[in-house]
């Protein structure tokens, strides 16, 4: 089993990261009810023991050891201390090692240049050191996940300078970036500059970028809230929910679903390297739009479609995309369809692919550009779950 390291940069990155770890722990708790430290959980967590203030890694050996103390394979970077401190004081504080944090108190002032050039050079060695340490603790490191926003200063600037560190130190390890692009009514005035500069770096240095648009996330959350208000479902019982939590949960779920097939078994496994292989036909064209069905924003609420086929249809609707786009009127280069659920089989996949292919236009040299995956295990409360990654010609990117 391979391991992945999560690198959260900036306020946005760390807040999404917080939701990610929360969801991840829930998922693994649901999957492995007897608390065994197995292959699946080792992809994101280390099992540790603390002796006299030093933390030691417990090896997996036969895969039947109980979980002692989990530590996340993560590096948290922020040039302001507020968000990270809040994270550490919350419920998730225990899964982070203090050595995994890189903080400053001055912030980047929403300036890409400060984040990239100034902090990038100042913290280069420290970040490289932390990444190396985290990588050494991995048996077989497959991929780095970098979470950040492109509109600000730290996430955008330092996040992209980090990519060049990863490229130099670990050229064979994939760099997946979850980049949150600002919405049109963003309150940061310099966000267009920051996003554009960040996008240039992402095109050059990342293996795969999942662009996410705040506006799209807001729309999805509103849609779910409406459904809740109309009395179709119970009100969610999320305690201490923060304002952006709902939106961040969506992004966290995208990453969880993308890695589900490499962590859990299924009849047609899809690893992260397969995603890059199948969805990136040309090196610089690696921006993948993602979509989820059914939609859920907290662990209590799920919007179940009327049937499985409806979930597939919904995946291609404008309202389910995490980036403002119109899938029905775009030209597809390739498309990855990953389904989770015990009762979903290859015939369901094929039937829906046949139906969907009729209404979607694929580029002429890749008419059957589908990559399919089936995973047995789902998160709790969901019966099945479909997830889509699409590589199509992006009409616009946010400005």
């Amino acid at each position: 089993m391979t391991q992945s390291i999560m690198i959260q940069v900036g306020q946005c990155g760390n807040q999404i990261g917080c939701r990610f770890w929360d969801q991840c722990l829930h998922e693994h708790a649901f999957y492995s009810k007897n608390g065994i430290y197995d292959d699946a959980i080792s992809s994101f967590f280390r099992n540790t023991e603390t002796y006299s203030d030093e933390t030691y890694d417990l090896p997996m050996r036969t895969g039947s050891n109980k979980i002692n103390k989990l530590k996340a394979r993560a590096i948290l970077v922020d040039m302001e201390e507020g968000v990270i401190n809040e994270l550490l004081q919350g419920q998730l504080g225990e899964i982070f090692d203090s050595k995994q944090l890189i903080t400053n108190s001055f912030g980047s002032g929403n300036n890409w240049a400060v984040g990239n050039k100034e902090y990038g050079t100042m913290y280069r060695e420290q970040i490289a050191e932390q990444v190396r340490k985290a990588a050494e603790l991995c048996d077989c490191l497959q991929c780095f996940f970098v979470l950040h926003s492109t509109g600000g200063g730290t996430g955008s600037g330092l996040g992209t300078s980090l990519l060049s560190i990863l490229q130099d130190e670990f050229p064979e390890v994939y760099r997946f970036v979850g980049a949150v692009y600002p919405s049109s009514d963003d309150d940061v005035i310099t966000s267009p500059y920051n996003s554009m500069l960040a996008t240039y770096e992402l095109t050059e240095k990342a293996d795969c970028v999942l662009p996410i648009n705040n506006q799209a996330l807001i729309n999805i959350c509103n849609k779910v809230q409406q459904a809740v208000r109309s009395g179709k479902f119970e009100k969610p019982t999320e305690k201490n929910a923060k304002p952006f939590d709902a939106m961040n949960n969506l992004v966290a779920n995208v990453i969880l679903n993308m890695t589900s097939s490499s962590r859990f078994e299924g009849s047609l496994n899809v690893d992260l390297n397969e995603i890059v292989m199948n969805l990136v036909p040309f090196p610089k064209q690696h921006y993948l739009v993602s979509s989820l069905s059914p939609l859920y924003i907290s662990k209590d609420v799920a919007l179940p479609p009327r049937k499985l086929d409806q979930a597939f249809e919904d995946l291609f609707s404008k309202d389910h995309q995490l980036m403002l786009s119109d899938p029905r009127h775009s030209l597809y280069l390739a498309c990855a369809l990953m389904v989770r659920g015990k009762n979903v089989q290859t015939s369901d996949l094929n039937r829906n692919i046949a139906k969907l292919s009729r209404n979607l236009s694929f580029v002429n040299w890749n008419q059957e550009g589908w990559k399919t995956g089936l995973c047995k295990w789902v998160q709790q409360l969901i019966i099945f779950n479909t997830f889509l990654l699409q590589q199509f010609v992006l009409q616009w990117i946010c400005f």
């Binding site: 089993m1 391979t2 292959d39 048996d139 077989c140 497959q142 490499s262 078994e265 009849s267 047609l268 496994n269 690893d271 992260l272 390297n273 397969e274 890059v276 292989m277 199948n278 969805l279 990136v280 036909p281 040309f282 090196p283 280069l333 390739a334 009762n343 089989q345 290859t346 015939s347 369901d348 094929n350 692919i353 046949a354 292919s357 002429n364 040299w365 890749n366 008419q367 059957e368 550009g369 589908w370 990559k371 399919t372 089936l374």
Partner: protein, 445 residues
């Protein structure tokens, strides 16, 4: 009799191999009334399994995969069964091949070569008399196809006298993996050179059989693997005549290869079986050789994979006024029929299936068609016919694969992933040329 080592490569190879071994074990331990059939069970068991002291049979198999999930599932699935995989005959790595043929062939393969040869040698040493390899893999992925092509080369280099039968799985034409056509063309170009025979199994066809003949509404890969296992087992199980005491199958793989592959240009085999039905409907069916033979013959003429939806208008007689070349039926280099069931020895199929119009003129009448019969039933079917042929059935699917791969190659899509690990444009061109040659040889039959 000769033992066969099953090499299961990649997720697909592991899963299909697992089903196949289950079917073979079931058939080999099935209780028959007559004890003359102990020979049959013995031979079937010894060919594919090893008898261990502790009573459980161990499969003569080596499982190779670049990531552990599928292999772990297969090993765990044998708990509670009467057979199991030998310990430490599995080779797994952690990182997977990422559907990248080049990564499987150029990066994983050289690193794992020695370990794999070791495992295979260990398995062969357990055999009294070693016959050959059954190499199971898919064409679409990275490990099965890339590492599989390399393993094929390695087997040929290290064990030149062993027969290699290579059932490969062709992916859904509607798309399973975006780069499936590249991987398929690259693999085929290698395995055609080193295997003795390549048998194409198609996901599309297996799916349709499950859906239409077996009536399964939600077809899963598990169902399709069972059908594939059924088809392969129907040709790999021994053929025993009641009247003879000896077995007809001294070396199943060798016999098949020598019956079907007379010329190294023609190695692509196709497999068809009748009948198929769901267990519920079996009780209501009567089996007659005439009926089965008729349906199989029509399947042979029209190259259809199942006995439903057949085009009955295609016949052997040449349409009036048309030239020789425009015949609409499928042509074959040679074919092999397996009749399993009561009354098979007294029913003659040779004249019908050995008709000279189906075969090229340069092949001797005795080599065109063979029929192997046994009175023993197979898998609960009172009578069944399996048809293993070497003919133009492969042309259509190979054409589709090559055309799509060529289209993609023309736009240079995805190539950077392959070039990153050492593959070059010339490798692609050579692969295309090899497969095109095979297609051409069959087309000009």
């Amino acid at each position: 009799m000769a033992a066969t080592v099953t090499v299961q490569l990649g997720q697909c190879g592991t899963q299909i191999g697992h089903e196949l071994l289950s079917v073979l074990h079931e058939e080999a331990t099935f209780y028959h009334h007559k004890d003359r059939l102990k020979d049959y069970n013995d031979i079937a068991m010894k060919t594919f399994f090893n008898d261990t002291q502790c009573g459980k049979h161990e499969a003569r198999s080596v499982m190779i995969d670049m990531e552990p999930k599928a292999v772990n599932w297969a090993v765990q699935d044998t708990t509670g069964k009467e057979w199991r995989y030998a310990k430490s005959q599995q080779f797994v790595q952690k990182s997977g091949s990422g559907n990248n043929w080049s990564y499987g062939f150029k990066v994983h393969a050289p690193k794992c070569k020695d370990a794999i040869i070791d495992l295979i040698r260990k398995e062969i040493e357990k055999c009294d008399y070693f016959g050959g390899f059954l190499l199971l893999m898919s064409l679409a992925g990275g490990t099965g196809s890339g590492l599989g092509a390399f393993v094929g080369n390695v087997l040929r280099d290290n064990f030149p006298r062993a027969t290699v039968l290579n059932p490969v799985v062709c992916p859904y034409t509607s798309g399973e993996v975006a780069v499936q056509n590249y991987n398929a063309v690259l693999s085929l170009s290698h395995i055609i050179a080193v295997s003795d025979a390549v048998c194409l199994l198609h996901n599309n066809q297996l799916h349709e059989i499950c859906h239409r003949l077996l009536g399964i509404k939600q077809v899963s890969f598990h169902d399709m693997n069972k059908v594939a296992a059924h088809q392969l087992a129907s040709v790999l199980l021994p053929i025993i005549q009641d009247k003879q005491s000896g077995s007809r199958f001294q070396n199943v793989l060798n016999d098949i290869a020598s019956a079907l592959v007379c010329n190294s240009r023609y190695k692509m085999l196709d497999l068809k079986c009748v009948p198929y039905m769901s267990p519920h409907t079996m009780a209501f069916n009567t089996f007659q050789w005439e009926g089965l033979a008729k349906r199989m013959f029509q399947m042979m003429l029209t190259d259809h994979h199942m006995d439903e939806g057949l085009n009955w208008r295609t016949t052997l007689t040449r349409p009036h006024g048309k030239t020789q070349r425009s015949s609409t039926y499928t042509k074959y280099v040679s074919s092999l029929l397996f009749m399993r069931g009561q009354g098979s020895t007294s029913y003659d199929l040779l004249t019908q299936f050995g008709d000279s119009r189906l075969y090229p003129t340069w092949i001797m009448p005795a080599c065109r068609n063979s029929v192997w019969k046994t009175e023993l039933p197979f898998r609960g079917y009172e009578k069944c016919i399996a048809f293993l042929s070497n003919g133009t059935s492969c042309v259509k699917s190979l054409n589709v694969l090559t055309e799509k791969a060529w289209d993609m190659f023309g736009s240079k899509a995805y190539l950077h992933h392959y070039y990153k690990y050492g593959l070059e444009e010339s490798d692609f061109i050579n692969a295309f040329a090899t497969v095109e040659n095979v297609i051409y040889s069959y087309k000009t039959l």
